[in-house]
Structures are given as C-alpha cells and as structure tokens.
C-alpha cells in the first residue's frame, strides 16, 4: 500500500512537470481549422436528413433520428435545475466535420489537429497506458487504434459511425436501448444529431486489462458535440473505458450533449471513468446509463472539473440478481460555474447493491449541487444502498446543496445516507503553512486530501490531470477565505 502511494505522488509530480514543460497548462487555445463540412447554424428536419445523408447510414437510423427530432422539439428545456436559458439553439452548429480522413496512425492525422492532441498529451498517454484509443474532433472521430492483441481476441473498438458501417446489426441491437430518445430533451437531441462517439464490444470471457480511451475535443465556437457511445461487456468479460474532454474558451457557448450506454452482461465487470475539463463556455449535458445484469458489476468514476453548467447523473439499472454498482464522483465548481451532478441507482432485482460517493468542492461563487436518485423496487429483496455526499466550500460565497431523492418500495431493503459540508479551516492551513508551504499549496493539498478517497480510484494520468487542475484553480483564487 505504502509504496504505491509514494510512487504515485512521485509520478504525479513528474507528470505535472512534464505537462508544464510542454506548455500544456491551459487548454484554452484553438486551431484555425475550417470544417470540410458543416450543416450551418440551427436545426431542422432537413439538417437531420443532411447528417444522415453525409454518413450514408442505413434507413432505420435515419428514421430513428427523425423520430428523436420530433421528441426533441416537443420537450421543453428543463427548468428544475440550473439556468439553461443561455443555450442559443438557433445559432448552434449541430454538425461540423474537420476532415474526411479516419486515421489509424497519428502521422496520417492533419498536422494542426495532430499538434492539438500532442499538446493534450493524447498520443503519449496511448503509448504508455492504453489498449486502444479514439480521438474525436468536433463531430467526427479522426483517429482510432486498438492493440493487435485485443483485436485478435475479438474486441471491437472504433467510432460509432464506423461500427454502424461494419457491424450494423450489433449496433442496432444496442443503440438507444438503455437511453431512449424519450428519456430527456438532451438525449432526444443526441439521438437526432449524434455523430462520433465510441463503440466498444468485449466478447465473452475476455478481460481487457488495459483501459481503452476516447478523447473529445470541441474546437469550433458555438458548436455542439453529440457523440454517442456504446460499451458492451459480454458475459464474464471485464473492461475499463475512459473519456477525457477539453475545449477552447470562446465568448459564444458550445453544447455537449452526449449519450453513453453501457451494457454489463451476466458476470461481467464494467468500468467507466471520465474527466471532463470543458472550458467555461460549454454546457455539458450528457446522459449516461448502464444496464447491469445478474452478478454484473458496474463502476462509474467521474471528475467534473470544467464547463459553464454541467448536469450529469450516471445511472445504473441493476436488472439481474446480485448486480452491483458503485459511483464515485468529484465535482469542482469554479467561480461562475454550476455543477449539478449526482447518480442514480435503480434496484430492480433481489440482492442488488449500490454505493454512491459524491464529493464536491465549490470555489468563489461556484455552486455545486448533488442530485441523486435511489429507487428500490418492490421485490428487490435484500437490496442494499449507501449514499455519501461530502461538500467542501472554499470561500464565503461558495454554495453547495444536497438533493437526494429516495424511493424505497421494498421493506427488506437496507438504505443509508450520509452528508457533510465543511470549510477549509484556518487551523489546518496555518499548520501546513507553518512548515513552509505557501497558502496556495496548503489549500490545494487540503482540497486534494478531501478528494483523496475518490482520487485513489482514478487512473494515474487522470489523477495527474485532476491534481493539476485543482492546483491551478486554487492558485487562481489567490487568498482563501
């Protein structure tokens, strides 16, 4: 135990220094890339037909898109959460493709785009840690690789557009099943205009012991990114899928409305980790859901760092006996931003169990809200659920709310809930400073310490990212208090 911690600290320091020397301290830069194809501003039936046409996709997909568009138009913008009136639906670009190339080698990627991903450290990460990776730039996946070892074992990992061409039946079986377009307005929008995202299929009994990653980059101003990701962990398999996201800073807001559908079959183990660091001109409104069958286990690990407004509640539907899920989430609400995050666990079968741990940090006037749902259906005998929400407030004007929602219909269910709210204490700060640490260092150590039990679960390269961001945010804040 001890040596791994010490090494992790060491590695984190080293990687942070690497990042600094690469000049990757800020993601706010953008490229002057003219899209080769764009549907222009605004959304209509015609735009949807156009997207479907460009993609030369099967007719059933075109019909699902149009159906979802009707649902999108009929649903109002939700008003029960953060203010979404800033989303400029009319002036948004819903589809924007940088290039027609789909590369399998970084050298084939157009130079300017490649440089961007180099700056973000994506190819390096791939070499060091990953079994495969996809890079998506605005609407399209532009790069895709999967180590031969896994390809040989039957693992499929490619952007969803390519998968739809090569494995149409497999895609059809899972597309918009766990998250139907009727779920919410943003899910409907995604199904209508989706482009890119990953398709990952792990055959029975295959254990992919290195993570697979997709990195999403929005480059265009007022551009929507609507990737749709499907992960299928077939019976007895295990897989870890990661996502990272960044965007430049623009005066006009962009919209990210993704869907992630994760299917964890009998005796399978699925893990999903995402660290989003969108710039503060992005509305981040994804819908992420897992179906977990008998004896399956699903783990959600999330870090919500950037964006203007984020609303995300990864859900696990525990459909089979003994299915389990855990959800670890960190939300960092910087000045001027809102993090409305949480988790859902739906217990639909006996002996299912869920654990939700949510930690939030609010800085400046940042607002973090925990919003969660635990439902234990009648007949989900002996289901167990534990929810823990901890909030840390950095400044006097920082805000945190906890809004758990519990629906327990089964008398044998065991349900517990804990919540704490704390502030960075003068005593702790003074103690660390009295040993020579600067105020910034002391406060970021305290914040990282508060997040520690979740950070441990995050892969190294993302922990580094999280560390760096917390330190950056803390130093931007200047004096704490």
């Amino acid at each position: 135990m001890e040596s791994t911690y010490v090494n992790k600290d060491e590695e984190i320091d080293r990687l942070i220094n690497d990042l600094k020397s690469n000049g990757a301290l800020d993601y706010g830069f953008h490229d002057n890339i003219n899209p080769v194809y764009s549907t222009g501003k605004g959304l209509s039936r015609q735009v949807i037909e156009e997207i479907s046409e460009i993609k030369k996709e099967p007719d059933w997909m075109r019909r699902i898109r149009l159906h979802a568009y009707e649902i999108f138009m009929s649903k109002p913008v939700p008003t029960w959460g953060p203010d979404l009136s800033g989303i400029d639906w009319e002036n948004m670009t819903y589809y924007s493709s940088p290039d027609e190339v789909k590369a399998t080698n970084w050298d084939e990627v157009p130079k300017e785009i490649k440089d961007t991903f180099e700056k973000l450290g994506v190819p390096e990460m791939e070499r060091k840690y990953l079994a495969g990776s996809i890079a998506q730039y605005d609407s399209e996946g532009i790069y895709n690789s999967l180590k031969k070892e896994w390809e040989d074992k039957g693992v499929v990992f490619m952007d969803l557009d390519s998968a739809l061409k090569r494995y149409p039946d497999l895609v059809k079986e899972y597309f918009a099943k766990a998250v139907p377009p009727s779920d919410n307005k943003f899910a409907a929008l995604n199904v209508a205009v989706w482009s890119g995202g990953a398709f990952l299929y792990v055959p029975r009994g295959v254990h992919v012991d290195m993570p697979l990653q997709t990195y999403f980059r929005i480059n265009g101003e007022a551009t929507g990114q609507f990737e749709h990701t499907i992960v299928v962990a077939d019976e007895g398999s295990s897989v870890h899928y990661l996502e990272g996201c960044t965007a430049p800073i623009y005066s006009k807001d962009s919209l990210h409305a993704a869907i992630v559908e994760y299917y964890v079959m009998k005796n399978a183990h699925g893990r999903y980790t995402s660290v989003q660091n969108w710039s503060n001109s992005v509305y981040n409104m994804p819908t992420k859901r897992a179906w977990v069958e008998e004896n399956g286990n699903m783990e959600w690990v999330g870090g919500s760092l950037g964006s203007k407004v984020t609303m995300i509640y990864p859900s696990s539907y525990l459909r089979g006996r003994n299915a389990t899920t855990s959800n670890l989430n960190i939300a960092l609400a910087g000045p001027g931003t809102v993090k409305d995050t949480g988790a859902k666990a739906i217990h639909m079968a006996p002996n299912t169990s869920s654990k939700i741990i949510a930690k939030s940090v609010s800085l400046g006037d940042g607002k973090s809200i925990y919003r969660g749902l635990v439902r234990i259906n009648k007949d989900a005998v002996n289901a167990k659920s534990h929810v823990q929400c901890d909030a840390l407030l950095i400044n006097d004007e920082s805000v945190s709310y906890t809004m758990p929602h519990d629906e327990i219909y089964e008398p044998t269910a065991n349900f517990t809930h804990e919540a704490t709210v704390g502030k960075i204490g003068t005593e702790e700060l003074t103690y660390l400073r009295s040993r020579g640490l600067s105020e910034d260092e002391a406060s970021s150590l305290i914040v990282l310490g508060f997040l520690d039990d979740v950070m441990k679960e995050i892969p190294m390269e993302f922990a580094v990212e999280m560390n760096r961001l917390v330190k950056l945010e803390m130093s931007k804040m200047g004096a704490v208090g």
Binding site: S434, R435, G449
Partner: protein
C-alpha cells in the same frame, strides 16, 4: 540564529493577551517559558508562528536581524522558525510523505531531494520517535492519539531541521517514557546553532532538559527572568507569589 521579541503586544478577538513581552533567544541557548494557565503562553507560540487569528498590536519579532513581525507563517518557517504545536490538527487525506517533502523543499531549496532516500530518512526518524514506519503513508495527524501527535511534531523537527524552535507544551499528554524520549531527542538535536523556547506549565520536562534561562509569564507580561533555580522555586511555591511581584 537569534530570535528577539521586543515589547510585543498581541490580542485575540480584540482582547489584549500579551503586553510588552521581551525575550532574546540565541543559538546554543535553551529557554523555558513558564506560567500559570491563561497567562498567554500559547498565545505567544501562535503569535510567533504568525497564526492569522492572533493580532500583533505592538512591538517587533526579529529573527537573525530580519523583522518578521508581519511575515506569513511560511516566511517564518523558511527563515528557520519552527513551532511544535500544543494541539496539532489533523489534515485529512494529506499524506505525511508528500507533506514533508514539499515542506523540506521550501526550507532547503538548494538541496535536491531523492524521494526514496528522503522517505528512508522519514522512516528512520519515525523509529527514533517511536512511531511505526507505516505512519509514512498515513495522513497528517489523522487518527493519531494525542501522544502520537506530539511524537510527530518532534519527527518534523528532526526532518525539517529548523534552527529556532518553539515547543508549546510538548510535555502535555505524554507519559513518562515518551517524555524521556522527547527530552533525549531535543538534547541530541541541540547545538550551538539551535535555540529552544520550551513553553510549559510544569517543570517536569525541565528535569530532563535543563534550561539556561527561565522566564515566567503572568497576565501576558514577563514577571520574572532567572536561571533554572527559578523553575525549582516555582515547583515548590507555585505561581501565586509571582502574581504579587507582577
């Protein structure tokens, strides 16, 4: 290294606690600051390290000729001042190895730290102060008993190598064996470059580590200065007679 406290006055929440305190501690000197409860002993410790809740209302603190009266805690630490806290706080999730490494890099900026070697030093020091090696991967004071916290303060002194050391009731909450260990380590660390200010209510620790000078603080003022015979006198007669002198 010389620590000079000149006419120092300080208040907590607008309540004056220290009034015109004068002390001068040089390298190679051991000073004891004694006094009854509520005399302002711990306030002095907190004021010396620059705790933001304690306001200096007059006078100066000078460390090696440099005025640090209004310096931040980290500036004081980097100048060589160390306070062993009376009640060290727990800092959840901040691992000892990380914390000490960052602290050391500030206090000794010219030294290159090899992490493996540095951690080995921490583990050795843990053995010295009677903490299990496994503490290196624990969080700062988190879940420590009172005695373990005191041992950890001494460990930090041994690792960080400060020159001017203020020990605020290091003897409280320690059993006889632990107290003997602390005194032994203090004696071992002591040199002509190191100065100690031992703040204590009892003279017990002063039997194991003999002070060159004893000062008695009563009602926020130094009521009497003397040598170690003064602490003997206090043991016999208590503090009441000094209140009359003051």
């Amino acid at each position: 290294m010389i620590l000079e406290i000149k006419n120092l006055s300080a208040s907590v929440e607008d309540k004056p606690i220290l009034k015109n305190v004068n002390l001068r501690i040089g390298g190679g000197e051991i000073h004891a600051l004694m006094g009854p409860n509520g005399a302002g002993k711990s306030t002095l410790g907190n004021v010396l390290i620059g705790h933001p809740d304690y306001k200096i209302t007059g006078g100066q603190i000078i460390l090696d000729g440099k005025d640090i009266t209004y310096a931040t805690p980290e500036e004081r630490a980097r100048a060589g001042l160390f306070l062993a806290f009376q009640s060290p706080v727990a800092v959840e999730g901040v691992r000892i190895s990380t914390f000490l490494r960052i602290a050391y890099s500030h206090l000794h900026p010219d030294e290159k730290i090899v992490i493996a070697d540095f951690n080995k030093r921490i583990k050795e020091a843990m053995k010295t102060v009677g903490l299990d090696e496994s503490f290196i991967s624990r969080s700062v004071n988190d879940g420590f008993s009172g005695g373990e916290r005191k041992r950890f303060e001494i460990l930090q002194m041994l690792i960080l190598k400060p020159k001017m050391i203020v020990l605020d009731e290091i003897d409280s909450g320690l059993d006889v064996d632990a107290l003997r260990m602390v005194a032994e380590q203090l004696k071992k660390y002591f040199s002509k470059d190191v100065g100690y200010l031992i703040i204590t209510h009892y003279q017990r620790i002063l039997k194991d580590i003999e002070p060159h000078f004893v000062h008695v603080l009563v009602n926020g003022t130094i009521a009497m200065d003397g040598d170690r015979t003064l602490s003997d006198k206090i043991e016999e007669n208590g503090y009441d007679w000094l209140k009359e002198v003051a």
